[in-house]
């Protein structure tokens, strides 16, 4: 559209200008891949250590490791760390609702009772 520039002096007020996104390069990407790989190795290794599997730390630590992997991919490969804050909001909001729903459902179906509340 050509003629909207009539008022080019009035910039949108609430949003930043399209910023140049400075994505990291190979030097960061391969390190990220390495970390991801190492965590995966740790996860699988943990699966094969019976004493660890039996311990109370097993489930929480597996969850933590996968959460870290999740966060790394999202923030580096999906550039959420570098991109416009709008994208962060578009992703984390729904993710929050989704995660809460998952937890609530597991609680309601008694899959989390042991940890969070007394059995009925």
């Amino acid at each position: 559209m050509d003629n909207h520039t009539a008022h080019s002096d009035s910039a949108p007020l609430d949003v930043a200008h399209a910023e140049e996104t400075h994505h990291p390069g190979w030097s960061v990407y391969w390190k990220v891949a390495l970390i991801l790989g190492l965590i995966t190795v740790a996860e699988v290794w943990g699966y094969y250590v019976p004493s660890f599997v039996a311990s109370r730390a097993f489930v929480p630590s597996l969850l933590a490791m996968s959460a870290v992997k999740f966060a790394i991919v999202v923030s580096f490969y999906m550039h959420l760390r570098y991109d416009h804050k709008l994208f962060r909001a578009l992703f984390t909001g729904p993710l929050f609702i989704a995660a809460s729903t998952l937890i609530a459902l597991l609680f309601l179906f008694g899959q989390l009772v042991a940890r969070f509340g007394p059995a009925r």
Binding site: M1, D2, H4, S10, P12, D14, T101, L105
Partner: protein, 618 residues
């Protein structure tokens, strides 16, 4: 402060609005958000009448004890289709009509972000709507209730085609809603005119914005619930097979995780419309704008944490009951804030009781009643006496009819002149309002009594001597009165479209952007993208607002005159939609159709994606 930015000029109808591609072909291929909005409006009103007719038969059957107008089988189809039609085919698309028509106008855009996707959403809706509605003519309509609880909907207990139509139909309609929601989110974020900051957006656009997020988060859940049911019914999986150990509560949870946000999806657009109506006819800006925005957001977020209040009778356990009860009660607070802020908007105003205003005030009065009965359900022990009785039916109609439908009527009377260039007949409008108001209360208020006096819902007949006869008779008479009201409305609507008084660009003296442009708006909406400096550019904007309003209120120029690039018309989205529906219906009719539909869909989709949206820039 400029009192009004609209230059006084003789009101006449903007002849250049819809003529760029007229005839049926023009409507089939249009990608213009306004025309798609009009299509939505007409289609959804038609479905509203169909849903209403179903309700009338229900009321005829229940008019007295042991009624036998329809059989039990047909009755069960009628209430299922009444609920499904009203929710998915009438109220949601009526809201969508306003999303389409209004949002780009309110934010100062020339179209939505993805015009062809928009056309696609509409066609999927129409085809899906026909798909799910037609079976009632053959006595094979869905009959599982609008929330289709498993295991009643599994093959074992519902071997017929009825539920197949429902599962597939809803799946199709979900595609339409999702596609539209992505479109509007993007549109609102990205196509606001210069200066149209988020906190200057008209309240209707804000509420719609929130609704779009609720849509994209709620619909995937019912999609999955339906996929499970579909796999169970067609491919022998066991998600809802109790013999295999399945828990019927899975369906209920998944459905209501969708279902509760859905009810706010139904009400927030109406809230938004009323938030346009009240300031316009009070000549005052909306009271507490920021709080209205935040309360809407809060309703949206909390709406995802209350679903199990539909399941207080299933035995969630005391902790689950308590938590969901408390969160449900919390929702009353932001909703109350809205009610009070609307009333405060009118305080000290100069209230003009146009039909639109009367429907707007009607919403406040009636929705409050429905909201209050909602709070009464939110206390689980008390709800155990109420759930699945007519007390619930009373609640849902006070919020849905007294809320959504009243708000939508307010919106139709307000925006009819913008859509058609002509005013609706105010006298008939007021008659419509009063008959509607009386009929509505006569129909649904007695249901509070029949419910608390023990009448379960979804019963196709009841025995005499149960103490329900009088209340049911009242409800039925009320329903017939509502039919009269609806007929008056339909007459007014059709008559005024052709012969109504000519409106001019701003017949109500309203303050927002959409009133700066001619009625009906030209295909490009704004000759120049406006510059916005306030929430009500026509009331309180500075001279830059006035300038853009002046330029845009000029009529008679075509897009070509102004060198504005508009998207091509195209039939492809409609074909993709057709392919999608053919593909799904193949599950019922013939496997070959699945492949045929898929092939049609994929090829036309590629052809759509590879063809340019609009002429190259020059």
């Amino acid at each position: 402060m400029a009192t009004t930015a609209v230059p006084a000029h003789a009101a006449h109808i903007n002849e250049h609005a819809f003529d760029e591609q007229s005839g049926i072909w023009g409507w089939l291929t249009t990608v213009d958000h306004k025309r798609i909005g009009v299509l939505y409006l007409f289609t959804a009103l038609a479905f509203f009448i169909i849903g209403g007719l179903e309700a009338e038969i229900i009321r005829l059957q229940l008019q007295g004890p042991n009624g036998h107008i329809v059989s039990a089988e047909l009755y069960n189809q009628l209430f299922t289709m009444h609920g499904t039609t009203m929710i998915f085919l009438a109220v949601m698309p009526l809201s969508a009509a306003f999303f389409n028509f209004l949002i780009p106008l309110q934010i100062g855009a020339r179209d939505v972000a993805f015009p062809r996707l928009n056309a696609f959403s509409y066609w999927v809706y129409v085809f899906g709507g026909i798909f799910i509605t037609l079976p009632i003519l053959f006595n094979v309509a869905p009959n599982g209730g609008w929330f289709g609880y498993a295991p009643l909907t599994t093959k074992l207990f519902a071997p017929g085609l009825n539920i197949d139509f429902w599962v597939i139909g809803l799946q199709i309609l979900g595609v339409s809603s999702l596609a539209a929601a992505f479109n509007f989110i993007t549109t609102i974020i990205n196509l606001r005119a210069p200066g149209m900051s988020l906190m200057r957006m008209p309240m209707f656009t804000w509420m719609s914005f929130i609704v779009q997020f609720m849509l994209i988060l709620a619909f995937p859940v019912i999609t999955i619930a339906l996929v499970f049911l579909l796999l169970d019914r067609f491919f022998g999986t066991q998600f809802y097979e109790t013999a295999a150990g399945a828990d019927p509560l899975l369906w209920q949870h998944l459905f209501w995780i969708f279902g509760h946000p859905e009810v706010y999806i139904l009400i927030l657009p109406a809230f938004g419309l009323v938030s346009e109506v009240l300031p316009t006819f009070s000549r005052k800006p909306l009271f507490g704008y920021p709080v209205m925005v935040y309360s809407g957001m809060l309703i949206g977020v909390l709406g995802f944490g209350v679903w199990a209040h539909h399941m207080f009778a299933v035995g969630l356990g005391p902790i689950g009951d308590s938590v969901f009860s408390l969160v449900t009660m919390l929702i009353a607070i932001p909703t109350g804030v809205k009610i009070f802020n609307w009333i405060a908007t009118m305080v000290q105003g100069q209230l003009r009781f146009t039909t639109s205003m009367m429907f707007g005030i009607g919403l406040i009065a009636l929705f409050t009643i429905g909201g209050i009965s909602g709070v009464m359900h939110s206390s689980p022990p008390a709800d155990l006496q109420q759930t699945d009785t007519y007390f619930i039916v009373a609640h849902i109609h006070y919020v849905l009819f007294g809320g959504s439908i009243m708000g939508i009527f307010a919106g139709i009377y307000l925006y009819f002149p913008k859509i058609t260039g002509r005013l609706m007949d105010e006298k008939l409008g007021k008659i419509h309002f009063w008959i509607n108001f009386v009929g509505m209360n006569l129909t649904f208020f007695p249901m509070h009594f029949s419910g608390m006096l023990g009448m379960p819902r979804r019963i196709y007949t009841y025995d005499s001597g149960q103490g329900w006869d009088t209340f049911n008779l009242m409800s039925s008479i009320g329903a017939y009165i509502l039919a009269v009201a609806t007929l008056i409305f339909a007459y007014n609507f059709l008559k005024s479209r052709k012969r109504g008084e000519i409106a001019g660009s701003n017949p109500w003296g309203a303050g927002t952007l959409e009133w700066t442009i001619p009625s009906p708006p030209p295909e490009y909406n704004f000759a120049v993208l406006p510059t916005v400096t306030s929430r009500y550019p026509l009331w309180e904007g500075d001279e830059r607002d006035a300038e853009s309003a002046r330029i845009n209120s000029q009529e008679g120029k075509t897009a070509e005159d102004l060198h504005i690039v508009m998207p091509y018309n195209t039939i492809k989205p409609a074909i993709v939609a057709g392919g999608l529906v053919i593909m799904f219906s193949g599950l019922i009719f013939a496997k070959a159709l699945i492949f045929l539909g898929a092939a049609l869909m994929v090829t036309s989709l590629y052809s759509w994606l590879l063809s340019p949206l609009e002429p190259e820039h020059h």
